[in-house]
Symmetry: D2
């Protein structure tokens, strides 16, 4: 049973010979391999895992599927999982975030496996930059098929799309039917419904079986984790989940420092606009928002924050940021960034009222933070005219006012769509958490119920520890009497669980 | 029964007529009252509590003792508790931190009570700047005596000294004897043992009775909270405790922003040394350390961090600070700040190896972060010569090398000893937490067991909310559909409990 | 007389029909035009010049040649000069800095002129990304030929290559011979000598005639200005020169804020390496160095500065940067940036001693700041192996040690080679200076001798003034009595000439 | 001839025995000496001058008067001048800026001179904190009298008051009469006129003689230098002047870094108000303003700038500060700082319109930046009520609105009035310039006409060089070929004269 023949049309090449995969251009593999080689230098946590577990291979015999931006950094994660013994399949979790040279190199495989462009021996990977929604979900389904529809043992998730598909599939299979695509206005959900309708017809219990087999998922986003806790609360969670997002070495690193790096990178590559002297509005002052504010301030922008949470709002004020509702800024701000994980933060009406050529970008989670659906509706009605400047950078002109806004990556994650996402070093921290979580699910599976868990603080500290040498950090060693005085173990963990860092 | 007659000799004036109190100089009351009036402007959270609860008086009939730096800001807290109905007595929790004009104004009382210097009608307060250890514990004992040795209903604690005295007293009363002062090397503990030996003799069950009466304590320091959790773990906690320190609006505000403010204030007032261009070493990168680093960096210092915790160390590195063990910095660093809450962070040996005229200060908790005991031992042996420059600022010269270090506030909290502590606004957040905790203990006492509790997140958010107007912050209002989309109540709390801000 | 037939072989397309030009691909013109339209929004100074002088056309009848990075921003300058009446020809001043879509759009011409890809009607432009040195100087010569070898009336120079060619040509024509290319080791000078030998043979007095005709040059780089002052001192300057570089609105804006923007942009696009937590060494703490340090610090790097000038070194220290000789950093620094305008700042020996995978880039002026010649010599001897990662990003591996360095843009300006150079807004300030200088040379030519001049401060203030609205800046108006009190004219200039801003 | 008997009444003690002087309390000398000893450590430039010139004594036989804030740092300068051979007399240049312990220690003298409180053997100094205007000018006159009205050979000036007195005196002596005090509204000018009327009567040619004798002045403030250039322009300058203010190591260090340090120090000591989260308005973005903005930003304030100069305004915007007219901020800003050197920047009307309890302070030059005269007029009319909070900190309440402003140091320099002024290290740079200028006037007097001169850049670099070791700065050494390549001497100066740093 394969859906491959039904692959939606695309311009990408596909050579499903010995290795099943679909990428944009295998010829990019050499470039990708060089970048992987450089990235390994920047990902000491993953390299340490290879060293520590490369011989014992704790993931041996496990089928692992990943749905996570198919970038160079993810490539180092994928090959780490492989070196630890896993049988891996991969898709991206975002239609724009794939780096095609990374995907190609992963398909061709690690040099020691001897794969070539004409005979790739790497990992089955289904991802290219600029997928349609149909292609995206096709890729997800393909990654989930370890042969005859057989599912994975473990899942590496980012945003929870794999988990979602399995849960929705199971739900509809239990109900014996999938709702019609006309029951929803949400474009993407229509695609999912169509896909599940098809699988229900072809293999009526496919997702139920897949769900039963899964031993656990590790999830790394705020949004994905939120979905998991909701399912736990509702009692519908089908397998254990490790919340990797709330490791300190994830949320306070990737979200904060990663976005500090990649926000301006995305802005620069897309717009080339000078940030210095501009008024920038950052919607949300969580970890992502904090990183974005620092990034913009570091470049000389005047930053205004919008917040719903009084604690975060007060934090923003104490750092010298003005805190205002979006509406108060529309006449004069130059740049808008959404970081909330919520939706309809910037609506079409907001954009219409903005200063001419205001820049709008989302680095939060889904493309509905900026209400692209609303803009598209206006486009359909002829009230908005879209002019593509270059890939992932469009000007939308309101015909009524003649003013335009400039939107990055069609409202999707701008750091992935317009730049190369988070840099290797910070992703090393996140992915070392993912790797450790996968090892934990592999070795201690019996300990986990159908609940959401965070990694023990000691493992969180371990992830940090593996990244210190690279930065030349030298730790101070606690003495025994000091450890006793403050009542912590000599080797950690050093902080109570509720500690906020 | 009163110990007043036994008050250790001191240069301070005492007029125990109608009002029982002991302060440095009642004539400072007018100045203190002006500063209280200005501070009220800066403490919107406390003023909002007065407005919200001033009529219903939820603390009516309750005896509340406070052991907390007797500053202007604390003055606003004390009078807020009084306005909410409480019968209050107060002492400081640090021998150097009292602002004498604040203590005087609190003793004279709020203008509407009509007290004067010759006829004070305020709050019984026992505190002056520069207490000896004997005086300090005498003050604590006095504050705890609401008449004939009767104890308080509730406690406001900072560092846990009141809680400690009651627990130790109860423990020794149960044992029927107090260990001799010669059983310990710790100077302060000797004083406590002497005091308890005296009370055991005079009133054998005093502390046991006091402990039974107490309905709860609210504690606001990392150190004090740590002690409470230890007692909870050991099963020896005598009454419920509310951990105010771990409210986000306390630990991430007072500790962080308060120290960012008061660190350089203390350095400037004590040393007048230019911070710009200097190498400053900050021991510890927790909330206090983070604030100190920002403070020094903002003034143009090059900051080096020491850390034992790999997560905090990595955070420091990601902000651009060099992270080294103390030993690696001794030959060239100019300024040393301890922020750890641990002890023996900077030893006499460290100081001996430092650059001539290195500045050493502690903003952590106790005066043993900088090993003053070790220095004093060397002084006794003639290996160190102390030269007082001005109050709270001493030069210690190592006779062997001829080099000196400059120590602030004798190793005690330099921001309180050399400056005026944290500014009103940030203390308003901390003290609003204290006030809300006291109200909670008053109104919902039955809900609490002999355990340590944190305030519910919604109250934490409330504290933040009360401080927004003053800073001109305008919150964004979540829409109902947005609240539903992210699954939070429209009015908060907006974040999961484990959220790190 | 044309050298066009002799154009060195290259892969670029050339359609010398009605319009003489040579660019990479005219089909990029549409994209270029869109970017020009967006850039105009960000270049208020140039747009104000169009408005103020568009009708009077002060440059009417003047032939102006420009040698300046052929980017989108320069495109807006070129078309401004055209709108002001000039007859313009253009080449780039750097082999890597041309943006091919900008060059194409300039060749096709402003929409109102009705040019198309098949019938371009814009400006003769000779520039493409990735010229060889032979191609570069061929382009320069072509831009200088306004028909039959006739030269320009005025010059817009960046780095002084047009000025150099005219002066060298004149010098050799006076001598009657050009030194053989074998008299120099300098690759580029060989190319110049060959070119001049050719023109001497074909048109013996060409450059002498060109030099006589030129009414003046405006030059915008530190290096170019330095050359001009040297010639003035030596008495060899052939025509007046306006030093645009030392307008405050140039050197303290373009050099400082431009590099603050483009340094990390270049680093990010080339390397994708996380800057946070890294040790970055910035060689030189002039305006460019200051901007680079801010940029790196804003991203969380630990920055070390190298300096020869004690004043700049002290400034760096006062901002909290460590100041060390390069040699002291080689074992641990991650990123090296040269900003000096001097040469041999980072030698091959330095690079060999660096940490593996250290990143080396130059944002100063010429490619000899990083001693590429030295590296190439080692490559020729097999002691260095070059691996191209992607365009403008190479790994050089020292065969002896196995360690590598990663060099951006082959040691040339990394912000132009790896990113898009300085953003429009700051270039608007620089180019408004250029435009005003060109107008000054046009209208008041008789005032200028064969010397180097700076623009009067009032014009400098005017340039600033034209950029305020865009940033929402509202100036305070001096009152008459205040103007009198401090003794300045009501409308400026407000500062003495020696003022340092 | 002495005016001493006519000394205006004051509460300060005066012992004009062997040594003529007038200070607040000689008993403070021991404390002052300790602080001088610590300051010497922080003033490497002055200590290097002592070492270099202590033997040759280039100032031998010269009478030098200084009018410069009588602080600890100035004490190190005074004693340096003495060690270099000068015969020194001193007064302060500001009624609030004297540190009484510094004045006392200077009067008692350097330990090696053996002076004591009962037998002071130091320098004749006339200065105490809190002089009246009459006392201030009395002190100035006294400092100028080296015996029988005989004047100095050289002047160290700060703000130009000594220079002013000599020039005004000479002018009126030439006219044969002094205008009546009723011809001016300016309080201070009245005092000067009265003083000069008195000297004219007693010694009709005193100031003419004094002016003739003076070999030169070195002046260190923007305001004082401005006055000198005005006199040079008007042809009325009586002696050569060295503009020390425009040494880079003065204006870009003292003004910038000094104020960055002392602004918050003054704010903290006076108000104890939290700066974080507040809106602060800085009037003027010159060197002083830039330092103030950094200072406030470093503490988490939101900073708004007011400017009249478009270049400085653009600089402010490019650093992320909002730039607005004062009027636009009155309803919401919390803190106002003037830094302009101009007058009537903040008027009584502005203050009336401010938010209740807004803080107003001046760190520019004279007390008319904040229009104190206007406020006092309202006070006289009963429209403003003044409440003194503590020394140098007053609340002015507008009776009409009930709102108050809090003014520091009565509108005079708040860093000197409320804190201890600039720290030693940065003053070392300024004062080393002063010392070098005095040596230059001593050794090369014949080179100087009655004009204003700046120090040669090489001496400016020397001043910087003397301060590097203290900060651990290691310079890079230019190679000979590099020096030749960029055309500068191997040992500097390294920059052209117009370079802006």
């Amino acid at each position: 049973m394969t859906l491959l023949a039904d692959a939606p049309k695309s311009t990408v090449h596909s050579q499903p010979k010995s290795l099943e995969y679909k990428v944009a251009d295998l010829n990019l593999a050499e470039w990708g391999r060089k970048e992987l080689m450089l990235a390994e230098q920047e990902m000491p946590g993953l390299m340490a895992c290879r060293e520590e577990y490369g011989a014992s291979k704790p993931l041996k015999g496990l089928k692992i599927v990943g749905s996570l931006h198919m970038t160079i950094q993810t490539g180092v994660l994928i090959e780490t999982l492989e070196i630890l013994g896993a049988d891996v399949r991969w898709c991206s979790c975002n239609i724009f975030s794939t780096q095609d040279h990374a995907a190609a190199a992963i398909a061709v495989g690690r040099p020691e496996k001897g794969g070539t462009v004409s005979n790739p021996r790497g990992i089955p990977v289904f991802a290219w930059k600029g997928e349609t929604l149909e292609e995206y979900w096709w890729c997800t389904e393909r990654a989930l098929d370890f042969g005859n529809g057989q599912g994975p043992d473990q899942i590496v998730d980012d945003g929870g799309d794999v988990t979602l598909l399995i849960h929705k599939g199971t739900e509809f299979e239990a109900a014996g039917k999938v709702p019609g695509a006309d029951t929803t206005d949400n474009k993407e959900y229509k695609v999912i419904l169509n896909l599940l309708a098809k699988t229900l017809k072809e293999t009526p219990k496919r997702w139920t079986e897949v769900g039963k087999k899964v031993r656990g998922v590790s999830e790394e986003t705020t949004t994905g984790v939120h979905r998991l806790y909701e399912m736990q609360k509702a009692g519908t969670l089908l397998f254990p989940a490790i919340n990797v997002n709330d490791s300190c070495t994830k949320s306070k690193f990737d979200n904060l420092y990663g976005c500090r790096h990649s926000l301006i990178d995305g802005l620069n590559r897309a717009t080339d606009v000078m940030i210095s002297g501009k008024v920038a509005v950052v919607c949300g002052y969580g970890d992502v928002g904090k990183g974005c504010c620092q990034s913009l301030k570091g470049q000389g922008a005047r930053v205004i924050v919008t917040e719903i949470d009084p604690i975060c709002a007060l934090q923003a004020a104490m750092e010298g940021y003005q805190v205002l509702p979006l509406e108060d800024t529309l006449s004069y701000a130059d740049i808008y960034i959404t970081t909330t994980g919520n939706y309809k933060i910037i609506t079409a009406d907001h954009m219409k009222a903005m200063k001419d050529k205001a820049i709008v970008a989302n680095i939060g989670h889904f493309d509905n933070e900026v209400d692209m659906a609303g803009v598209e509706k206006l486009e359909e009605k002829g009230k908005v005219k879209r002019t593509n400047i270059k890939p992932q950078y469009d000007m939308y002109t309101f015909t009524e006012t003649g003013k335009s806004v400039l939107i990055l990556a069609e409202g999707r994650l701008m750091n992935l769509g317009c730049a190369t996402g988070h840099p290797s070093f910070v992703m090393s921290a996140s992915f070392t958490n993912q790797t450790i979580a996968q090892i934990e699910l592999a070795l201690n599976n019996e300990k986990y119920e159908k609940k959401v868990y965070v990694l023990p603080k000691k493992l969180d500290e371990k992830v940090a520890r593996l990244h210190l040498d690279k930065l030349g950090v030298k730790l101070t060693k606690l003495t025994e009497e000091q450890a006793k005085y403050i009542g912590v173990p000599l080797d950690g963990p050093y902080k109570p669980d509720h500690y906020r860092y």
